[in-house]
Amino acid sequence: MRSNLTTTAKVYLAIVFVILYAPIFYLIFYSFNSGGTMSSFESFTLEHYKAVFNDNRLLVILINTTIVALLSALIATMIGTLGAIGIVSMSNKKMRRTLLSLNNILIVSPDVVIGASFLILFTMVGIQLGFTSVLISHIAFSIPIVVLMVLPKLFEMNTNLIDAALDLGANRRDVLTRVILPYIKPGIFAGFFMALTYSLDDFAVTFFVTGNGFSTLSVEIYSMARAGISLTVNAISGLVFVVTVGIVVMYYLITKRTRKSGEV
């Protein structure tokens, strides 16, 4: 792609990106500061990172966050993919449109509302707040995202492919595992990684439904930041940032590979 951007446009773009990334890099920069504040940089140190890794509580939270993210993304991907297939194969058009709208409403509705309603639901049903409640709510808000990522692939798929598979002797299960799932694989991956990042950085919903000592990183950072400035927060943020970049790169590599081998 040849870019025909004018100098002004380039400068504008540069400024936008600097503004977007500056706070993050500012934060990460001071995570290496041996002085205890973010106002003056004294000398380079890794002690805040050491503090993170020596703090068992933080490590447990880190592991919790990762487990919740991976597990909820995995389960949401399975449910969301099958749900999307179900929605698309629905013959009743009105019903299909209604379900799609309901799905989209869940995506745009504010986290606070979702979090509060889950809190009410869990207390009503009597589920203890903690790992389970956080996991369930993360699965729940990830499903619509997965559905949204998988749908375009399904819509783009030629239904004759299903007939062709049946014609060659495939049963319903074969059709699903040998035709539909491989075809929509890029959408499934996209959905999984989206769900992963949504779960990793969710604060509002988790804040509502967590309890009994269970905590995730974003909630923990929030409470640490409330308690007063500690550069440990910076170090954690730096780590999270690196992990996020890693996920994006991984996602990029995977989609690039599947695109190369699987496009019409």
């Binding site: 062709a164 049946l166 060659l168 495939a170 040998r178 081998s261 699987g262 019409v264």
Partner: protein, 365 residues
Amino acid sequence: MANDTIIRFDNVTKSYNSNTTVLKGVSFELERGKFYTLLGPSGCGKTTILRIIAGFEAPTTGDVFINSKRVNNVPANERQVNTVFQDYALFPHLNVFENVAFGLRIKKVKEAEIKARVAEALKFVNLAGYENREITEMSGGQRQRVAIARAIVNDPEVILLDEPLSALDLKLRTEMQYELRELQQRLGKTFIFVTHDQEEALAMSDEIFVLNEGNIQQSGTPVDIYDEPINRFVADFIGESNIVDGVMLEDYKVQFAGKVFDCVDGGMKQNEKIEVVIRPEDLHLTTPAAGKITVRVDTQLFRGVHYELSTYDKDGNEWLVHSLKQAEVGAQVGLDFDPEAIHIMRLNETEEEFDARIEAYTNEV
């Protein structure tokens, strides 16, 4: 005879919703090992018939038999029938080898046998050596051949082909017509081929079914259908024809364009109103004095092999003429033709009545 019947439709109708009937009572019998063509304009129900044979749709009423077994409720994956789809429907996530191997893998055929059979099928369609290509790297004609290989590798009794050549350019298309016909003869399988191209149908088939609006208009060999179209629709659809109103004075005497001519048809009522069909290639240019009808040349197109003249007689009937010789636009010319060139069509005659009449008057002679 009955033993050779592989597919039978018994008064099959199909409606997708309550107010439209797509097939309006279709009956036919197909013999093993022949090349059949379903020919008809867009939307007449060709694909629907194939989908009913393949098992993707069930008939609304009527019965479908494959090998004398009623299959109305047998699902597609249990039928000995394979389809080459209009858009090929190759699996984009699999390469050529895996596409062709798909049906065998489903049937859990041993790996070594899969290898051998796929290689053989690809050789059959002249694609040996293309095993590891991605579908995206194949041309339209090659994709079509992959689709055919994917069907024949399963060794089905019947192969359904839904306008498989429609996306190809003229040259490749003609080439593929030869290849398909030859393939069918080598395999000895029943092919049911769908097209809306009459030349293609005439060139390839053992038997043609001409369809219109969910009804079979006429069935027969290409020569029968071309020479003896049963009604205006078939005459018009199969090749270009001149169709004029006339009166059957008595057997072998017909009146049209203001004159009486000898012909070879009979078995109709005296003075019955009929339609006369004469093919453009059966009309020969001559001088007005020597011709049976005198016409004025209106336009002339060069068609490569012949000139196509549009001419008008004094009553304003249009006569299309295919002539090897050039004519002068605006000139009066004579048209000559043989009695055999005159084909008589009764108004609203059904296929059964038509066959009965032909039988009756040919027995008389």
